[in-house]
């Protein structure tokens, strides 16, 4: 398990990570989502042992990670801007990692690269952005590490490859208990792969929950009331996160379980009442709006 305890990191005057505590359980896909500049990459780099936190600690299986080669042997980090040794081919990079990770499976790498249509003898600097990303992910998977840390893992991948990579992650989790940690702002990509999501905003964790629980705990309701009194009766005692009104149609995001909300709305006897399925993206927008992050305010005024 990866534990982040009261992690704090500042870059000059900017606090990139502010007292973040997270638990990443083994065997599940952890999605780290957040606004631009929220501190996702910094958290991931702290987990990878690249960045030294100002305060707090990152523990991997109860061992501090920073400057600890024994722990780093269990981690493979794919940064957003991947670096490859100049003038190397994927095969040479595999050779390089073979020296570093004792469980690196070069034969499998070559096999998988072939499956993805990558020429392992071609110079990587001639590859497209997406191809480089594929090479990085395959190197990471073949390194045989317990944890795979991916910053914007699916950025630049075409839909087919994206699906292939997701399948690979699933297979690795099944076969050897791989724990992928994926930082992204593309919530749609994470929705169908992540078991657990941490929402980061302004360096802090807004929410860290299983995706299923997250969806169960937030409900989006569309309804029409006969009168203001009915509306008041229906919403009394509910944790309303967002409330929009267009004409008589109310769209309300409410924190709480479906049954409790249905029961509350019965008090208000709405003319029309429907609970809609929330996407991860909608949950993210709702949660960040609650803490004041509403880009529409800046655009629309």
């Amino acid at each position: 398990m990866i534990e982040l305890l009261d992690l704090e990191k500042s870059f000059d005057d900017i606090k990139a990570v502010n007292r973040v505590s997270l638990n990443i359980r083994d065997g599940e896909v952890f999605g780290l989502v957040g606004t631009n500049g929220a501190g996702k990459s910094t958290i991931l780099r702290s987990i990878a042992g690249v960045v030294k936190p100002d305060l707090g600690v990152v523990l991997v299986d109860n061992r501090p990670v920073y400057d600890n080669p024994a722990v780093k042997r269990d981690l493979f980090y794919i940064s957003d801007e991947q670096y490859f040794i100049p003038n190397t081919t994927p095969e040479e990079m595999a050779d390089y990692y073979e020296e570093i990770y004792s469980n690196f499976d070069k034969a499998r790498f070559i096999d998988m690269a072939g499956g993805f249509g990558l020429d392992v003898k071609r110079k990587i600097n001639n590859f497209s952005k997406g191809m480089k990303k594929q090479v990085s992910i395959l190197l990471g998977i073949c390194s045989g590490t317990k944890y795979l840390l991916c910053d914007e893992a699916f950025d630049g991948l075409d839909p087919v490859v994206r699906q292939g990579v997701k399948s690979l992650f699933a297979a690795e989790m099944e076969d050897r208990g791989l724990t992928p940690v994926i930082a992204s702002h593309n919530l749609r990509e994470l929705e169908d792969i992540c078991d657990h999501v941490g929402l980061i905003h302004l360096g802090g964790v807004i929410l860290s929950e299983d995706v299923a629980d997250m969806k169960l705990n937030i409900q989006k309701v569309q309804c029409v009331f006969d009168s203001d009194k009915d509306e008041k009766n229906a919403l009394e005692g509910l944790d309303v996160m967002l409330h929009e009104k267009r004409g008589r149609l109310h769209t309300i995001t409410i924190r709480g379980e479906r049954e409790d909300i249905e029961a509350a709305f019965k008090r208000g006897t709405p003319i029309f009442f429907e609970i809609l399925a929330l996407t991860l993206e909608e949950i993210f927008i709702s949660e960040t709006e609650v803490v004041g992050y509403d880009i529409r305010k800046y655009i629309l005024g």
């Binding site: 690249v50 960045v51 940064s79 801007e81 991947q82 670096y83 100049p86 570093i100």
Partner: protein, 724 residues
């Protein structure tokens, strides 16, 4: 690291992979070393062989030249350390450029290593690769040298020691460059900082010398180029020293020469090692404190950034002062201009540095004004310390108890003997003069320093030079090993008893007259057919090839030991001089002044029938030309230094052929073209006239000897003829 348990074969395979990854550095280093050590060796030895064939060199000299060729390419005289420095900088940039890139840092630091393991691995790879390349090419070069018979034990030892020194140079420059990189956040700043470390000590040293030259009257530009913490300066000085020191037939056939050179250069080598130790310690500290997010910044530690900026501003400001001083006369106005230029330069440099340190952001030019102000304050402090001589430099004379010996240095040496284009009598006084009568020497120095200061003050204020005494450079060798040099002016009227005690001392004579240390000349003179001994007296010469140098030198030594005093040289002029020369493959010459009392020398001259009367042979004088440089004035009636302030706009020149007038003129003149150290010219010569006496056998003076009238002895007809 992760490869700790892999087999030797895998290690070699991995090393091959490392070389592939660092191919560009490898591709540059290999041809450089091949050209210098292999082709260089072939070319130098071939040149030696060609020279030996065309010049008919003796077998002994030929062998010596071949041995020297190896030392020139691989030994103490080599310039291969420049390649080592270049490789060190290149390898450092290759190994640590990841510090400037976030993506590279992510790549390397996420791998299962510690920061120290990564640094250690880079160090090991760089030093290992360089050592393998360097030693490989040296072995190739030595095999070639062996093929030409240019290797012996001492040469091998020389090459071995130099190899160690070069490896140390490589390591130290590598460490300094790595330190510059760890202190920088981007490549341009690292390059600037590398240059800062490389050149700052040398520039500071040069500027301090220049300031001493400007402000200190007694500053003597000798042995003061002390540059500390600079491997570059250490190497430049030690290579220069090797080219002076390692000369002669036997140095490359003598193991001791290697150890002696090492001993003489121990402080330079030690300075290089100390620089490396400091750089290494700082790397440990800085690498521990350096954060990943520092990549992309300029200089990552603010106090160090201030230090660099202030240093550059100070150095720039002082350089401006030095430039101004080079073009101007010294007066109050120049000091004002100097100060203004120092401030302007420091401010401009401060602005440029700020722009550079802020990633070429021109808008940052006005930042960091506090540091610029601090730099200006430091510049003024340095200026005031020098201008006001707050350290007492111009009055410092060491305590007698701390002085081991003293010497006059930089004097004219009448001996020359060239071996391989180098004069073995160069720096004769410094090498052989050890005056131990320290109290008298210090007393004379104090008088000389006071006179020099007063004289230089007047020169700076009025821009006029005058003849008040003998300009001398004195050296105090301290018991601590330090050397103190000062420029002094020994006034003509100095206490002659004091000077007699100094000049009559054994140490003074040993270090002034080459005859006391002339073994090389004696050895070469034996049975040498190119020898020529000529005695020149007034307008007569006599020569012989039969007088052995050793016999002449023995007699001369005896005379100098017994007869030479300050009084003698102060009051009397030589009656003639002996000109000894060897003009064979080796060139040597000596000029020995002969005084009337040098009876032993005169006896030898008589024995070989070349002694001549100490007077002009009037029958051989064709004409005399007298030139009066101040017509209409009698300079002897002017105050003591009245002549100094006069500008001669015209001169009168009269040629006499009349025998009687010639005789009268000759009776009133003295020959002045001898080396006349300590002679009281001001009291004894008339400087208004020159007298050219033409004729006689003395053709080495182009048929003429140049004389002056004795003071108060200008014939009336000459005064009349030239003052119309």
């Amino acid at each position: 690291m992760t490869s700790a348990n892999i087999s030797l074969g895998e290690k070699i395979k991995n090393k091959h992979k490392y070389l592939n990854r660092t191919l560009w550095t490898y591709m540059i280093a290999v041809p450089l070393m091949a050209v210098y050590y292999v082709f260089g060796m072939i070319m130098v030895i071939t040149k030696t062989i060609n020279y030996a064939e065309t010049s008919g060199q003796s077998m002994e000299k030929f062998y010596n030249s071949r041995l020297d060729a190896v030392i020139l390419i691989m030994g103490f005289k080599q310039f291969g350390w420049l390649i080592a420095m270049f490789c060190a900088i290149m390898f450092a940039y290759q190994g640590f450029s990841y510090l400037f890139s976030q993506s590279k840092l992510d790549f390397y630091l996420s791998q299962p290593t510690t920061r120290y393991q990564r640094i250690r691995k880079n160090f090991r790879d760089a030093i290992g690769v360089f050592t393998v390349l360097y030693v490989s090419f040296e072995i190739l070069g030595l095999i070639i040298a062996l093929f030409y018979g240019a290797v012996n034990g001492p040469v091998l030892l020389n090459v071995f020691v130099e190899t160690l020194r070069t490896l140390i140079t490589f390591i130290v420059v590598y460490l300094v460059t790595v330190l510059a990189m760890f202190l920088s956040g981007n490549m341009p700043t690292a390059v600037l900082l590398t240059g800062f470390f490389a050149f700052l000590p040398g520039v500071i040293s040069l500027e301090l010398i220049q300031l001493k030259r400007i402000f200190f009257a007694t500053f003597a530009d000798e042995g003061t180029s002390n540059v500390f913490l600079s491997p570059l300066a250490d190497r430049i000085f030690s290579t220069g020293a090797s080219r002076h020191y390692l000369e002669g037939l036997n140095y490359n056939q003598d193991y001791n020469a290697v150890f002696e050179f090492m001993f003489d250069n121990r402080f330079r080598d030690l300075d290089t090692i100390v620089t490396g130790i400091i750089a290494f310690a700082l790397i440990i500290i800085v690498s521990k404190a350096r954060k990943v997010e520092d990549a992309g910044k300029s200089i990552i530690y603010r106090p160090f950034r201030w230090f660099v900026k202030i240093s550059i501003c100070v150095v720039g400001g002082l350089a401006a002062a030095a430039c101004i001083s080079a073009f101007s006369k010294y007066d109050t106005r120049i000091y004002v201009i100097m100060c203004a230029f120092m401030v302007i330069t420091a401010v401009i440099i401060g602005c440029i540095v700020e722009v550079l340190f802020d990633n070429n952001n021109i808008r940052s030019f006005n930042k960091g004004f506090a540091q610029t102000l601090m730099a200006v304050a430091i510049i003024f402090l340095i200026f005031l310390i020098h201008k006001g001589d707050m350290c007492g430099y111009d009055s410092y004379v060491p305590n007698a108890s701390s002085v081991e010996s003293c010497a006059f240095v930089n004097e004219y040496t009448s001996y020359q003997f060239y071996e391989k284009s180098v004069d073995v009598f160069a720096d004769y006084q410094e090498n052989y003069m050890y005056i131990t009568d320290v109290d008298d020497f210090i007393e004379m120095t104090k008088i000389g320093m006071a006179a020099e200061k007063e004289y230089m003050k007047e020169v700076k204020e009025n821009g006029e030079y005058s003849d008040r005494g003998w300009q001398k450079t004195v050296l105090f060798r301290l018991k601590s090993g330090a050397k103190i040099y000062r420029q002094i002016l020994v006034p003509y009227d100095i206490d002659s008893e004091l000077m007699n005690r100094i000049v009559s001392s054994e140490g003074y004579k040993q270090g002034t007259f080459g005859c006391f240390n002339d073994d090389s000349l004696r050895k070469l003179d034996e049975n040498n057919s190119s020898r020529m001994v000529q005695y020149v007296s007034f307008n007569r010469t006599a020569a012989t090839g039969n007088l052995p140098y050793a016999e002449l030198s023995d007699a001369y030594r005896k005379d100098v030991s017994e007869k030479y005093t300050y009084d003698l040289s102060h009051n009397e002029l030589p009656i003639g001089c002996i000109e000894y020369s060897l003009n064979g493959r080796e060139f040597g010459q000596a000029v020995l002044n002969v005084y009337k009392d040098y009876t032993n020398t005169i006896e030898v001259l008589k024995k070989y029938d070349i002694y001549l009367p100490d007077e002009f042979d009037l029958s051989n004088v064709n004409w005399i030309t007298v030139t009066n440089y101040y017509p209409g004035i009698d300079t002897e009636t002017l105050p003591e230094d009245g002549l100094n302030n006069m500008i001669s706009e015209k001169h009168e020149e009269i040629t006499y052929t009349d025998e009687q007038k010639i005789k009268e003129i000759i009776d009133a003149t003295v020959v002045t073209d001898y080396d006349m150290d300590w002679y009281n010219r001001l009291s004894n010569f008339n400087f208004q006239y020159t007298v050219e006496i033409n004729g006689g056998q003395s053709n080495q003076y182009y048929g003429s000897r140049f004389c002056r009238f004795k003071k108060g002895a200008v014939p009336d007809f000459v005064s009349k003829d030239t003052n119309q």
